[in-house]
Symmetry: C3
């Protein structure tokens, strides 16, 4: 994709300084940009790069006063960062939109329907009786079992696996290797010490605008649904167990694990490598620090916790400060004892 | 699948109260069930739902005395929970059994044999010289390398990958994205600071009745076998390194990692996000708490440990209780010092 | 593959004791070896097995004096361990080399080139405009997006997924289920509490001689590249976030997570289940103990740290020793207070 500076300035309603026919074909950081790239300058700290950049064009503030001559064409706008973000979004949307049509061979079972303007990559598999919306992109080697429902504008990257009966909303993104609907880890101990599988016949439900990172696994419910509510974003290699419910607009960072039947509130922020035990409830707007282990229900909205086991993060920080000095503390106690 | 209440009562040897021709096609919790669903009532706490449920039929105790009229058909049995579990198992088995035959295209190499009544999904791959039992279900996009052996009644869900020479027993379940037989992490440091790969030519052996969760990885042995013994259940996103041996009927929860050559006993319970260092032995019936780091051999059967590094869980709990009060403890010591 | 003892002795420049026509077809440990296997004896502790082994041939030291008769053919060399390692490497290379040609169906887009002597497994997918070197092995169900570059002699095992624009060097190994180039976890909070995706248009670059373990995920950069430098080895289920840079000849063990824009030095050793926060720098030759949480930049080369949060490992060990005794310490303080 190649554009002239004029086309980009029109899109951003910016004013051009320099050659309006200069062509750009990629986006780059101002300090790394080379010929053919469009960059932006927002943070004044980076202004020196403006005079040395290899970029063919740079988006700058309409208030910027140049201190030296600039070889790149300039596009002046009121908020360069926001304008550049807009371009990034156009760019990514255009990339995805360029994937259309059906690559062969791919498999679609009986009774399955799929909306207009979709992409189905080679070796993708759709089972029986699925209902898939319009403008959906299904990359190569994706597996979609039977009776799966998927909303409009959802993208499923290569090799993601959706077990039968999964429900995915609109505008969702599932990254490569995601598994939705694997059996919950339910095994009943038997008198002889062996375990008997507890059948898991529920499903996974993702509401609209949900994003799931690469190789993350979400188990189906024993009965009913494991639910991820609207707008929630989940990072890579996260484990969500059976019957968990995650609220709206919550973010969960990489390698976190949430045990069975836990309920996570809306607008929570859960950092990486956190563990949350089963059957507890986490209040709305809770923040959990990285590597924490949450063992108890959090009732108060806005709580910030840290540690394994987790408790108030300020209290935890203070305890950790003393923890480092424990050997000195021990010596001090011994000294006191000797003196008495 | 649709059944009449009569058919289900016959199966469970229960007595019908209401219309024996009522039809049900799904199973649900009594508090969520809608028309067409069969539910059960075991815990008396849930009895109020019996009088309001949308379920078409409910399995209840033969001793239950109704306090109000019930619109659902009732099936009375001696143990409703156990009867419902039986139904769940029939249901899940029937779902799996409905997958039979071979979907095209799929790949099978030379010299490979596969037993009767199997399912091979589209885009599944079987290499050369494999011996695969009867009633095996191989879902779409599964990869099975060369010289792999798989026992009867084993199910391998979509996209699981079995490297060459893997051996899987009967009645095993491998969930989507499982990797068996990837190279052990063996690299010999060289004088120049680089690393040279130590070839890993062993394999992975799963005995009968083993279950492996989604996206779990089990490395092949350097030589010999990485072994998971009979009846052991492993959750999602677990890492099992080369030459590890896990005993019989042990359960390992999600995101746990076991380092090379560790030996885990029989009937152990290992919680989530645990790390176990290499070359140690964990005694039978050991319980390891979540997020623990086990650095030493556990010799005594029945040991319960917790913490990183892990030690006796009661001792750990007591130490953690004091940990939270460390700032107060420090102040107290300072006060004592001032007073002396 | 079957060889005579004579062929192996020629390869290793060893001397034969016994039947030079004895045939071997596999490699095994001396204590487990059976007929047809070639074993080695290096550690004197294992000498007793030499007189009882089922191996058909054993590589031994040219200085070994036999104490009993041996049924296996012997190959005498100066360094048995090193000779055996050489054989292991021949063995593994021969196994890989036996995979050649193209299995159908597989998919290759327009404008893509691939060098000589390659293997492409069934159901593998290569997008448009890719440049793939010679002697590359692409196993079944691998996904390679558009504009991907791959160097010579690289092996990509079953089901690995490389998003568009990924660059992989020569002599790399990517294990099953690896994901390279998934979106970085970037979401900008909006005034209404929802999150808006920040487009991630960068890529992933692996330099030469890099090895990536099964189901590990490496996100693309927001702009620019997430980079893994030459010779670095990464284990299974590791998470590398956007814009991270990992130096040369560093090893990262399983289930470790590195947050966005962190820079890891050369020759570092990072143990399993470690978490590293974003935007920090880790000096060359740093060692990080298992389950540590690294929250601050490490400036000094050769630093060894441990703990969550991590600090000097010796200081951490001493603090942990006192941690276990905290209840006693508390009692002691109470006793002192009472006595004053």
């Amino acid at each position: 994709m190649e554009f002239t500076v004029q086309q980009i300035a029109d899109l951003l309603q910016g004013e051009i300084e320099g050659d309006n026919l200069t062509k750009v074909s990629t986006l780059a950081k101002i300090e790394e940009a080379q010929s053919g790239a469009l960059a932006f300058l927002s943070n004044p700290k980076y202004e020196p790069y403006l005079y040395t950049t290899g970029a063919s064009a740079v988006i700058v503030s309409d208030k910027l006063e140049l201190k030296k001559p600039v070889s790149a064409a300039l596009i002046r706008v009121s908020d360069p960062y926001s304008s550049f973000s807009t371009l990034l979004q156009y760019y990514q949307a255009a990339l995805l939109a360029s994937k259309t049509g059906v690559e062969e061979p791919c498999f679609i079972g009986s009774g399955s329907e799929i909306g207009e303007d979709h992409y189905r990559g080679a070796f993708s598999y759709i089972g029986n009786n699925c209902k898939i919306g319009a403008n959906v992109r299904i990359f190569p080697q994706v597996y979609i079992g039977d009776n799966v429902t998927i909303g409009d504008n959802t993208t499923i990257f290569a090799g993601a696996k959706l077990y039968s009966n999964t429900i995915v909303g609109s505008n969702c993104t599932l990254h490569a290797g995601v598994v939705l609907g694997s059996d919950g880890f339910g095994f009943a101990p038997q008198p002889d010490g062996s375990y008997k599988m507890v059948p898991q016949i529920g499903n996974v439900v993702l509401e609209d605008d949900v994003s799931i990172g690469a190789n993350t696994t979400i188990d189906c419910a024993t009965m009913g649904s494991t639910i991820i509510r609207q707008g929630t974003k989940i990072d890579n290699l996260v484990q969500i167990a059976h019957n968990v419910e995650v609220g709206k607009h919550t973010v969960i960072a990489a390698q976190t694990g949430i045990s069975g039947s836990a309920k996570i509130g809306n607008h929570c922020v859960i950092a990486g490598q956190v563990g949350i035990v089963g059957h507890i409830t986490i209040a709305d707007k809770t923040t959990v620090g990285a590597q924490s282990g949450v063992g108890k229900t959090i009732k108060k909205s806005g709580t910030i916790i840290q540690g394994s086991p987790a408790f108030d993060y300020k209290q935890n920080l203070r305890a950790l400060t003393v923890f480092r000095k424990l050997p000195e503390l021990q010596r001090e106690i011994e000294a006191l004892r000797d003196r008495i």
